[in-house]
Subunit: 629 residues, 2 copies
């Protein structure tokens, strides 16, 4: 299987082994231990023993191997470091403080409300690319960064520090598999095998051979080392980037290493030392501790910066009103149209590209498309990695399969990641495939994501314009696309600002305001026509922006229709468009009646299902009449 | 092809290899192919080529190996079969029709609204234990069934048929790992390696060695075969259950096998044959096709039935009003209390048992507890497997980590699975660990699950009573538990019916109704006390049942407070308690104002965070005053 990406020859390690101050690194490792213990004891919470097991690894990486400019954590060709075992945050903070980036005294503000040094790392911190803390996600992000490095013709390497317990997460193996397939030799995973999980020892404890066989089977080169032997760590790191495979360093460590009365003992996960214990522990470590301040750090290469500037504008769409085009296909068209001039745009899909139409982008710009195979968790993580490197990744699969990656999307929210998710095949209107393939909860899911934007176009013009908006807007965006073809309603020069809505039908004396989107918008228009024929007027609003909602516009329309609103959505009744409208407008006295799918759907023809689940024109007409008796 | 319908009498004896009619099985396989083609062509949609690749495997399993009573698909000691590659549904339906369970003519009603033969299998059908269709989930369910078989001392084996593309899903490797760890030699996976995914070939095509090395590294015994050589299939199946490891059969197959002009060709995924193509294909297969009707099927052993009857009642709780107990701890207590007499109760956790307190059950009933390690997707699937076998599984982890398993929970809804999920550490009130560990979207997520019940106790008594309710109620239940200790509010004899709520404060002249649950209930009570001191009365409702909501009770209380309601929740504003109340009551004219977490939270002390995010007593008081100016 040919990788679509440019294959970079490995840059050999710039620093000869005998230049590296092993004793100095050991000293720094102990300084990092001291910081981790002191900070968590001061905070009264945290994971000091998880920090101690990885301290030698982190010291070696940060002060003996990685190539980066500690004064400029954002420099685009710095080696990247991802703390996948995010609960070791104090260790990461300590490492950066010891580079001199901020005062070491700040470390004692760990977990305080007014400090950016939170319980788990977030990108409020300049040296944190992505939030971690939900285990098993960092390697996916690393895969994304490694792929992006190739695309941008940069030679930075990406290092991901994982715990052993978190290797039980399937997402780790999704990432491992893709890294093996694409031969990401610019990716290095380091597994801190300290044998003790949270509530008990891991299944494999210190049996490194289990991990070795697994990673090898997934296409990785493996090295097994004593994770407290700094010389060994440096030695295996020197060979990073050689060969054609990603490298995993399996490091046998002790949880709480360095603290004689705690190391390798059960019952110490997530437990800060008492003041007295901390004093004892620090006393053990102090004599050999050394500051990292002034310790030489290898510099990154100077290479041309990637071109990540957005274009001034995009070329226009060219649909004809009345044409019949599915919004999922319009999505594919949009990707190609904006991808031409917007070099930031990359795309990925989970073996559904022929259904989501991301295949159009794949055919036009194959080196900017990543086939992620049937592994949605990893796909979202990969996108998060690309986004952290300044790209604008468009991720597509069936809307219902994004539920597979909800944790990754949730954490992407915490990461303020600039990813764009497009879920196709929404609602019962997909028809015969049945409920396992229907997106019926995606609006609810995506509304909860911190800082998200949730969009739901009805026609091709709107879909394409929203894709433009998504590319220009900073933050997580989700776009719902439908399987069936729908009629083009709008002119090519129509604008669709995020947070807006369109009033498609409105007359004085209208009885009810219908708020709909997607396929149900057309049902609402049919209902409006039918009711008009019976002398009853209804206002019809296309709520293409579910979050943020066009609250004032809807409220204004409702005010002219007895404050009565009917929402209609091809989605469950919980958490979707109806709840969005009711949740925001109920307090203002608007009465919202929800039409939605209220039972587990069945296979059937699309039109049968819209009728059966009460979201077709007939149901809307009936509801309007019921409310106007 | 029309066959007369009649039942096959099972022969209760072991079947030597030379008793197996290989030619007969080949003929049945082709009959299954014919059915799959005819049904999908009639439906105009479906996946005939995915059925054809697996037809020999399914024929061999159903008619040459598995021990079951086809007249009684629910018999508790039947071998179990899970079609993890759920899109091959027509093949499964055909197999069962050919056992005589229902008329083969029914197969042509595939995907019709009035037929139970849906696009992907659901348990509306008696021979389907769990819904499939979202790939990569079947093996987890199989692991649960295999574990349950051991618990129940039954000798049925569980067979899971997977596609090769779906092995990219990390959940497959979570399941594989656990099966290896627990040495589930009563579990057999069969991988239909037909090399062609949906939109392109899989990464490894027919390279069986890749799969072999992976499964071996995960602790499985492996067999590689020609998936169209029925004799080979039968031969390797004969060794199922031998040794101490689970067995995986890696079968090299051709997508569309049996149809000369389609087999192994790209572009045929999910594509029905045209009428003309179907006629040609069936003509190729007909001469060798044989009916399965009358073909002998191996009988299951007769073993004592597992005891899966619920007890008449549970022993009482013994809390003292005013005690300080976290609801997460009460959960642990409840599991032990009901577990004593309710043999159906089993539990599982993802290495958080010391935090969720499921550890109490683990210590008391270790053989009924499954440590699933840090792999939540698989854990939910395992629970679904146990539930399919009549157990009542209680699954626990942090609420936020259930987002990792949203797809599995969604499909469990489609499966009508009787699983009980308890998510701890909800809300910003967990404090210093920060947002990656906070459950802020779990109510929204769980509300969308088909048929779910969503419960949110505030004190220990309520938590324990709700656990009882969950055990007795049929369907998916989700319980939110909090990290901080809270005061016991209720007597031990208080009842908490699902769908109910408790009015804790109410007086004539109350200005607003506050609806809260969990930690915010206590904030509401504090606010009530403070406002009372200022001469303002508020009604306070404990909405421990979020879904179903105590709609009439809340509506009735609101009617006496100017139809004004304030909801307060330790959850995001989207999709939670507030949206639930607004969504249901807005249409009735109730005005709902939501207090909730409206920004990405930060690490800090619990009380600081409740204040910062506007969900503490002070915020409630301020809101009441604002609404009553």
């Amino acid at each position: 299987m040919v990788s679509p990406f440019f294959f970079v020859e490995a840059t050999p390690c710039l620093r000869p082994m005998n230049d590296i101050d092993i004793e100095g690194l050991k000293g720094i490792a102990n300084q990092l231990r001291i910081h981790s213990i002191a900070a968590t004891t001061a905070a009264g919470s945290g994971h000091p023993t998880s920090c101690c097991s990885a301290a030698d690894l982190v010291a070696a990486l940060f002060f003996g191997h990685m190539r980066y400019n500690p004064k400029d954590p954002h420099y685009y060709n710095n080696d990247r470091f991802i703390l996948s075992k995010g609960h070791a945050a104090p260790l990461l903070y300590a490492a950066w403080a010891e580079t001199g980036l901020f005062p070491v005294e700040d470390l004692l503000k760990l977990r305080q409300l007014d400090s950016d040094l939170e319980g788990h790392p977030t990108p409020r911190l300049p040296f944190v690319d992505v939030a971690t803390g939900s285990l098993g996600q960092g390697l996916s992000v690393g895969v994304g960064m490694a792929l992006c490095g190739r695309l941008d013709k940069l030679d930075y390497r990406t290092y991901v520090l994982l715990g052993d317990g978190e290797c039980a997460e399937g997402s780790v193996w999704e990432a491992a598999s893709l890294a093996g397939i694409y031969q990401l030799n610019n990716l290095v995973a380091v597994v801190d095998v300290n044998r003790l999980g949270q509530s008990q020892p891991t299944a494999f404890e210190h049996n490194l051979d289990v991990y070795k066989r697994r990673f090898e089977a997934f296409g990785w080169r493996t090295e097994e080392i004593d994770g407290h032997d700094v010389e060994e760590i440096i030695e295996v790191l020197a060979a990073a980037g050689l060969g054609s495979q990603p490298l995993v360093i399996l490091a046998k460590t002790l949880k709480g290493a360095g603290i004689s009365f705690i190391q390798d003992k059960e019952g110490w996960h997530g437990r800060p030392l008492s003041r007295e214990e901390a004093t004892r522990a620090i006393a053990e470590l102090q004599p050999s501790a050394k500051s990292g301040i002034g310790h030489p750090i290898a510099a990154p290469s100077q290479l041309p910066a990637p071109k990540n500037d957005p274009p001034a504008s995009y070329p226009p769409t060219s649909y004809k009103m009345g044409d019949s085009v599915a919004t999922r296909e319009a999505y594919g068209n949009a990707l190609v149209r904006i991808g031409e001039s917007d070099q930031r745009v990359v795309a990925m899909d989970g073996d559904t590209k022929n259904s989501t139409y991301s295949e159009k982008f794949y055919k036009k710009f194959p080196n900017r498309f990543t086939e992620c195979f049937i592994a949605e968790q990893n796909m979202v993580g990969v996108a998060t990695g690309f986004a952290a490197r300044g790209k604008v990744p468009f991720v597509s699969t069936f809307a219902c399969f994004f539920t597979r990656a909800f944790d990754q999307v949730r954490v992407a929210g915490i990461s303020l990641a600039n990813i764009k998710l497009t879920g196709s095949h929404v609602g019962a209107s997909i028809g015969e495939d049945g409920p396992s393939q229907m997106g019926l909860e995606d609006i609810a899911m995506m509304r909860t994501v911190a800082g998200s934007t949730v969009l739901y176009p009805s026609d091709a013009v709107c879909a394409e314009k929203l894709v433009e908006q998504m590319a220009q807007h900073k933050g997580i965006c989700f776009l719902r696309t439908s399987r069936p073809k729908t009629t083009v309603l709008y002119n090519n020069d129509e604008q669709f600002p995020i947070g807006g809505a369109k009033i498609l039908r409105q007359s004085a004396g209208d009885k009810v305001t219908i708020v709909a989107a997607g396929v149900t918008l057309y049902e609402a228009l049919k209902a409006a026509d039918e009711l008009k024929g019976q002398g009853v007027g209804i206002t019809v609003i296309d709520a293409y922006s579910v979050k943020p909602l066009a609250k004032e516009l809807i409220k204004g329309a409702a005010a002219q229709t007895q404050n009565l609103v009917i929402t209609v959505e091809d989605h469950y009744a919980e958490g979707g468009l109806g709840d969005a409208v009711a949740g925001e407008l109920s307090g203002e006295g608007v009465r919202v009646h929800k039409l939605a799918v209220r039972e587990l759907p069945h296979s059937g023809k699309p039109e049968e299902l819209l009728a059966k689940y009460g979201i077709d024109a007939r149901a809307i007409v009936a509801k309007v009449k019921e409310l106007n008796r």
